[in-house]
């Protein structure tokens, strides 16, 4: 064999050693909880915020002495917002790390990929972020503290109609979340008698929306509805729509008024309305969570999802306290069905028979640039969306 060939074999061998040599060290005493979040890819912002909030909550619990003296240990995997990666991550968590309770995941697509496996294996999948209506039907072991798009859509449709919008143009990111938001909103809007005069979609990786927006504006709608998955594209669309001379009202959901989105859009975002679940300003716990998070990570975005991820951990801790065993998925599941919780995202909420919660959405309006502060997140609440 030539030196080159030997070198090749050595390379392969080194890689093999690399894989085998790195062992894991877990203490047996702690509760092991799996976490799957999309830490890279299109769902990166959500996944990162969510996993950071969870880590913060876990650190708080552990600092306070853990659950009856036992610590919680999070085992984090990247599910990348894709079904295939979610399945790989799920299998690694259940087979390698032997967890029975998984917090996550952040993308509905990933959730729907892993859900059948979890259902079959009897593993609890508990997400604070996935909002696809289909997840309600995914199974007995599937829970979420995120609200289904179905609710959001009804509120959005009502709000549009109540504001006197009769013709609507929609621009939608081609992701399941954004499509879900658009679909449910438009359904309600059309049910009320509204008309969608133009609709456009864009793939996640483009940053220039001008041609789509030109078409939408040219259709002369009363309002523009943005359904985005990434805060960044939401903000950019607002900015570019204004650049192209659109001066009608713009509607969206939480993503469009997220911190990054508002920074990207700047002054252009003023007056944009969003229908979203928002942390109650009077909720002391919520405000404390945000304060702690900012102190710890030096930024805040998607406060409601931050809160729901935080709540997830505390709910989990409570149920672990009751069952006392992180391998008892059935007990954990029953505990979730029974529990009523007051946390950052709301008071006295509980899971229905589909593993869903229902809280109310509110309408928010973006403040002028000068009035935006870290505390008010850049928008003011206009109260609940009209019911009809």
């Amino acid at each position: 064999m030539s030196i080159r060939q030997i070198a090749l074999v050595c390379l392969l061998g080194a890689l093999a050693l690399l894989a085998v040599a790195c062992g894991d060290d877990a203490s047996d005493e702690s509760f092991k909880i799996g976490v799957m979040e999309s830490l890279t890819g299109p769902g990166e912002t959500y996944g990162t915020v969510s996993s950071q909030a969870k880590q913060m909550a876990v650190d708080e619990i552990n600092a306070a002495g853990g659950i009856d003296g036992r610590m919680i240990e999070l085992i984090v995997q990247d599910s990348k917002c894709s079904a295939q990666d979610a399945i790989t991550a799920y299998n690694k968590l259940t087979d390698v790390d032997g967890v029975k309770i998984i917090l996550g995941t952040s993308c509905s697509g990933a959730m729907l990929g892993a859900a059948p496996l979890a259902e079959a294996d009897g593993v609890v999948l508990f997400s604070g972020l996935a909002t696809n209506p289909d997840i309600a039907e995914a199974g007995d072991y599937i829970f979420r503290t995120a609200m289904s798009d179905a609710l959001l859509g009804i509120d959005t449709g009502n709000e549009l109609w109540a504001d006197g919008i009769r013709t609507l143009a929609t621009i939608t990111e081609a992701t399941d979340y954004a499509e879900g938001v658009r679909r449910t909103s438009v359904a309600q809007f059309e049910k009320l008698g509204g008309e969608v005069v133009a609709e456009e979609r864009y793939p996640s990786d483009i940053t220039d929306f001008r041609s789509q927006l030109t078409k939408l504006i040219n259709a002369n709608p009363d309002a523009l509805h943005i359904a985005a998955q990434q805060e960044f594209s939401g903000g950019t669309i607002v900015k570019q729509a204004r650049e192209l001379g659109f001066d009608g009202p713009i509607y969206g959901e939480i993503v469009v008024v997220g911190t990054t989105a508002l920074e990207v859009a700047g002054e252009a975002a003023t007056g944009v309305k969003a229908i979203a679940a928002v942390l109650d300003p009077d909720n002391q716990m919520a405000q404390e969570v945000l304060r702690n998070f900012r102190a710890r990570y030096d930024y805040v975005t998607l406060p409601w999802y931050l809160g729901s991820a935080y709540d997830d951990v505390y709910i989990t801790a409570e149920c672990l306290r009751q069952t006392g065993d992180d391998q008892d998925a059935d007990g954990f599941r029953d505990c979730l069905y029974d529990i009523t919780w007051s946390g950052a995202i709301g008071e006295n909420y509980s899971f229905d028979e589909k593993g869903e919660i229902s809280l109310s959405n509110v309408v928010v309006e973006v403040l002028p640039l000068a009035e935006r502060t870290e505390e008010n997140q850049g928008y003011k609440s206009l109260g609940q969306a009209p019911t009809k």
């Binding site: 890279t40 990166e44 081609a174 793939p203």
Partner: protein, 451 residues
């Protein structure tokens, strides 16, 4: 029956002509339908077309010199954009610094390496007679090290960009001014002595240089535009380093252009992923440059910055045209494109000239990347997307033709816009690639064939 080549050519021409006619008729019909939208589409098309044209210009320049597809080109576009982001994070959304000493050191090292090689090629052989090898090595090493450290400092402290770059800009301005002055004096007063000449140019040059440097040092607002220059130069330096460090060896042995293609694909993959690791894979905006307020012309809106981009594309085209057609370097570049071996024989150091071509190409890509980044946003994958668009634009325009690159770039921009008039906007990419396949099938030499 196999048709004769002439027949096939004719058939291709007929098909192309009818397709063009159909497209033109469609556009005219659409314009009469809604002139407002047509004007807006035209503006949009010009804005993106300018970026495509810039990309196609650089791409065509490199391709028609070395005749292989260099996919690093895409990474250069991303690097240009991310260079600005790297240096100006404090002004961007999110506000957090990504400045990382390892990254700065790495690029400083690359720049130092390129400088070292450039010094060697430029002076080593020429000076060998006058000085000893050792002293040359020491001098070169010192210069290289100094450049490296200087670059490192520039990259690592973006907040003081204007202060750090002031001496360099001042010195450059001084040299240029001195040179211009000496040329002017030579022209006007042919009898002027050496001493007067020297004194005049030194005085004027140093004054002007100092002036420039001081002005710059006192203008922190210039940091954004300085970061443009820095990231373009760094992307260019990486291009040169790749050529000299990798492609030169590969080209000697390559049996087919595919080797270069696959290798540069590897480069693109690695750089894209590394960018995603350092900067995260989500899109980011660049800080606001000038001209971000829209102007209304004929009832449609266009940003001042877009007009600037179009201006840059045209200036880049004219500059490249001037370089290629009017200067001796350009002549040399064209000669290498025609026949590299003979170019070597007549006394051209082809390695150096091709390195310069790679530098220019990468600078064009980086400029396109950062302009489109300012206009919209940046993301690690933008390199691949922009490169493919530049590639298509140069195929549409005609490979190896500068006029074709500009025409192809703007044409592609327009087609993408007008193509989605009736189709949904998400089919934009499909339209570009269908155009590509149509062109390669029926019109492989493009709109304006080379030569």
């Amino acid at each position: 029956m196999l048709r004769s080549a002439a027949y096939r050519e004719r058939r291709g021409r007929i098909l192309a002509a009818s397709l063009t006619t159909a497209a033109a008729a469609y556009v005219v019909w659409k314009i009469t339908e809604s002139p407002d939208q047509a004007v807006q589409f035209a503006f949009n098309g010009l804005s993106v077309g300018a970026v495509y044209a810039l990309l196609a210009l650089g791409f065509t320049l490199v391709y028609s010199t070395v005749w292989f597809f260099d996919l690093y080109y895409g990474a250069a576009a991303a690097m240009g954009a991310y260079g600005v982001f790297y240096l100006r994070t404090s002004e961007t959304v999110g506000g957090s610094h990504v400045n990382n000493p390892y990254v700065s050191a790495l690029f400083a090292l690359v720049v130092a390496g390129v400088v070292a090689w450039a010094l060697y090629e430029a002076f080593f052989i020429r000076m060998q007679g006058r000085f000893t090898r050792k002293s040359l090595y020491i001098a070169g090493g010192t210069l290289t090290g100094a450049t490296g450290i200087y670059t490192g400092f520039i990259l690592a402290s973006p907040d003081y960009l204007h202060l750090l770059l002031a001496p360099a800009v001042g010195a450059t301005a001084a040299v240029v001014a001195g040179w211009v002055v000496s040329r002017v004096i030579q022209r006007l007063f042919s009898k002027a002595g050496r001493t007067t000449l020297l004194a005049a140019s030194v005085i004027v040059g140093s004054l002007l240089g100092a002036c420039c440097g001081l002005l710059l040092a006192g203008a922190p607002g210039s940091r954004l535009y300085l970061s443009w220059a820095v990231s373009c130069l760094v992307a260019g330096a990486v291009g040169v380093a790749l050529y000299r460090g990798l492609y030169v060896y590969m080209r000697k042995r390559a049996r087919s252009p595919l080797i270069m293609l696959v290798a540069s694909l590897g480069v693109l993959l690695a750089i894209t992923a590394a960018t995603a690791i350092v900067f995260e894979s989500a899109p980011r905006p660049l800080p606001r440059a000038f001209g971000s307020e829209p102007w209304t012309i004929w009832g449609s809106n266009i940003k001042g910055f877009n007009i600037f981009t179009i201006g840059v594309a045209i200036a880049g085209f004219l500059g490249l045209l001037f370089l290629l057609k009017r200067t001796s370097l350009g002549r040399t570049i064209r000669a290498i494109g025609d026949d590299e071996e003979v170019a070597k024989v007549v006394g051209i150091n082809t390695t150096v000239v091709i390195a310069i071509v790679f530098f220019i190409g990468a600078v064009f890509a980086a400029a396109a990347g950062l302009l489109s980044g300012h206009d919209t946003a940046i993301q690690p994958r933008m390199g691949l997307l922009l490169m493919l668009k530049g590639w298509i634009a140069s195929v549409v325009g005609g490979m190896g033709n500068l006029y074709g690159a500009v025409v192809g770039g703007f044409a592609l921009g327009m087609v993408e816009q007008f193509g989605i008039w009736d189709l949904a906007g998400e089919w934009k990419d499909v339209i570009s690639f269908v155009i590509l396949i149509l062109f390669l099938s029926f019109w492989p030499r493009g709109l304006l064939p080379r030569g």
